[in-house]
């Protein structure tokens, strides 16, 4: 069997390290959590995830982590995206289709402006207790 190797990945990482060491000192990390429960997947969370990554790459942001979580209880507003970043309140956005995901990067992260009409209330108490694992 022809086994494809990770050599290209190693090379890419070396190149990234060289160009990134300046940028990483620019400010604390931004954390994005994307709901990837069954409801999220059914509503297109994977496409939103791809759009988020793509837009973050286009804008050249490097101090960002993206994690997948389970359902937060907003099944009727999936896909949901939660953002924690210095200088902005912690927010959960709902109905985050791919185009909205891109707007979040542009407006919330870069322009530090809330997208008010998409903010969800906090999760219900049974989930709030278990959240943050």
């Amino acid at each position: 069997m022809k086994k494809l190797t990770l050599d290209d990945l190693r090379k890419l990482r070396e190149e990234q390290k060289n160009s990134m060491s300046k940028r990483e000192s620019e400010g604390k990390e931004i954390e994005i959590l994307i709901g990837m429960g069954t409801c999220g997947i059914a509503a297109g969370a994977k496409e939103s995830f791809s759009a988020l990554l793509d837009e973050i790459e286009k804008k050249g942001l490097t101090n960002v982590t993206v994690k997948q979580t389970g359902c937060m209880g907003f099944c009727d507003s999936e896909p949901t995206v939660e953002i924690h970043m210095p200088g902005m309140p912690d927010v959960i956005y709902g109905n985050v289709k791919s185009d909205v995901a891109r707007k979040i990067v542009e407006k919330h992260i870069i322009q530090k402006t809330l997208l008010n009409n998409l903010i969800q209330d906090k999760p219900s108490t049974d989930i709030l207790g278990k959240k943050g694992a």
Partner: protein, 184 residues
Amino acid sequence: MHYSVCDYLTDIVQNSVEANASLIFVDFKEDEQFISVSVSDNGHGMDQEKLNKALDPFYTSKTGQRTRKIGLGLPFLKQATQNNGGIFEIKSDTAVGTSVYFCFDQKNIDRPPIGDLTACLLTLFGFKASSYELVVNRSYKDIGYTLTKSELEEILGNLNSVTALLALKKQIMSFEQEINGGKQ
């Protein structure tokens, strides 16, 4: 509900992560006749009674991150393989873990699409959970690749960082292009 093979795969691997597995093996094989996927873990497993119930719609252990689980993942997967004339098998033991195998007949009209395998694989390596080792073997006939979470972490660092995800995405896309080149 779930639409593509990748959706089913994400769902089953999430089950493994939530069963506190420290080791998960995924084997994704494709040829002109079949798409076959197996997911094996060393999580807490199920006794025979729970295993029987697991295939019942709306039964769920409701633990872990997905506190609003519905309990339809396995029943829908089993139904999808039945509609397609494929195969579905699940084995579990509380001393060992759980193993799920499913296979779709490519020539049957009810074969679900594969879906976006690149996005799926990125998701599998990035769950916000306690640490787990994940090994994914992906092959199309006699060409394939293996992704191992610990090896990727060694090369890329934290797999949740966007820079790592983007690098991994490029690598997987290049693998898939090579495989798709071989499909013609």
